[in-house]
Subunit: 139 residues, 4 copies
């Protein structure tokens, strides 16, 4: 399963090089991740209300091209791997009509309790949710 | 009483006009407001822990000049007025060595309960804190 | 003429109060303004290439309600007034299914030359564009 | 050579988890990188005026702890490696009084012509600047 989100580059996201600032890509990844999680019938907000947070433990971004103001981008997100302790998502940023992504990246998140910030064993504590996330890898 | 905070314009804060984006000024005002509140011997974090939040009800900004990457700015903050229900801060943004501010502005904030988001009568509920804030206007 | 833009509140746009940070509204206004300008058959990028920039001279925001992560908002933009030297846009931010906007605001922009940052008399220099913008007020 | 920059976490940088949003770290890295480049007697602005830009080709961040509003952080930057085509910087984010960094990361940048965005052979075109940067690795 893969989610596709449309991002139109905002003026505020550009920098004096005339391109979208590199720190915006993780923000766009997050929009795509939000949409991916919705695909399993859950909102990120509901997950936080259940008591699960997914703070980042790692982020990687590879910039192959530049995005400019008003560019219409498609950001894809998918689950790359999952364990009881953490989940990794992979992303691609595409500009309309091009045959290679302008950016690829990944984020790894620990599963933590939203009150204590302590690690959760997702597989044991929320087996249904864990399995739904795991199943996203295949299909 | 007036607080003075130094801001060095970040690359990420510029836009493709080559100047600091206008939405950064409210962020800098907030830095200056944080420092002003420290002047009464309290951090904003402590206020939130006491149960008081100050969400904005109004913002005004007047842009008279542009700020550029690596510019060293001084942002001043002071209490302009206060009532039992709300407080207004005034700000000026100065560039080193110039005789007029490049930006002036104000923010008005309601006093609300941090759990319920309902209005608080600050004068009755936290008279000491209210008086400290009120006294900042004169001196 | 009025433009309507859909904004879904991003996680990165929230703050520790659990609401969209007040400095995001000017960014959303800008998205709405970009879409409004497209209504006259021009992109903001094309205007900059023609040599016209619209830096802000004034911003006002009134916050009447809070926006939360994943909220679906509609941001409207329209031209409020125009002169040879400047243009004022008005904005409203609505949350789906509510009968009052959660935020209203305005931005005033000077017309400046994109190379020199000097004021342009828009009415004289680009009468067609000026008239298109002026006509947006009525209809 | 290593630069040390002080960052105080801004309210606007927090998210609804109550911690600094992960996309702020690349912005702080950039502040640290700006200060490191100043150590060789040059500003980033001067480099852009010389015709050299350093867009990112890669970013990595490892999050080991969380930063909160008003936390006073030290961000270190150093040159990790350099070639004729690109330069890699390494960063650490420390919180006062702790014995491990809360975040480590790196950015890799291509040297490009600021007008054409084409790669520059830095070693050939700006040997002095190249050597200054290279020398930062040792000392």
């Amino acid at each position: 399963m893969i989610s596709k989100s449309t991002i139109v580059v905002r003026y505020a996201e550009t920098d004096q090089m005339g391109i979208a600032h590199h720190s915006e890509y993780p923000v766009w990844y997050e929009v795509a991740r939000t949409n991916l999680i919705k695909c399993i019938g859950l909102t990120y907000t509901q997950m936080e209300q259940m008591g699960v947070m997914l703070p980042l433990s790692e982020l990687t971004c590879r910039y192959k091209g530049a995005a400019r103001y008003e560019d219409v981008l498609t950001v894809t997100a998918r689950v790359e791997s999952i364990s009881a302790a953490r989940i990794t998502f992979a992303y691609e940023v595409w500009r309309e009509g091009e045959d290679k992504p302008i950016n690829t990246g990944s984020t790894t998140h620990g599963f933590v309790d939203s009150r204590t910030f302590r690690p959760i064993n997702m597989k044991k504590k929320y087996p249904d949710l864990y399995n739904k996330m795991k199943n996203m890898i295949e299909g």
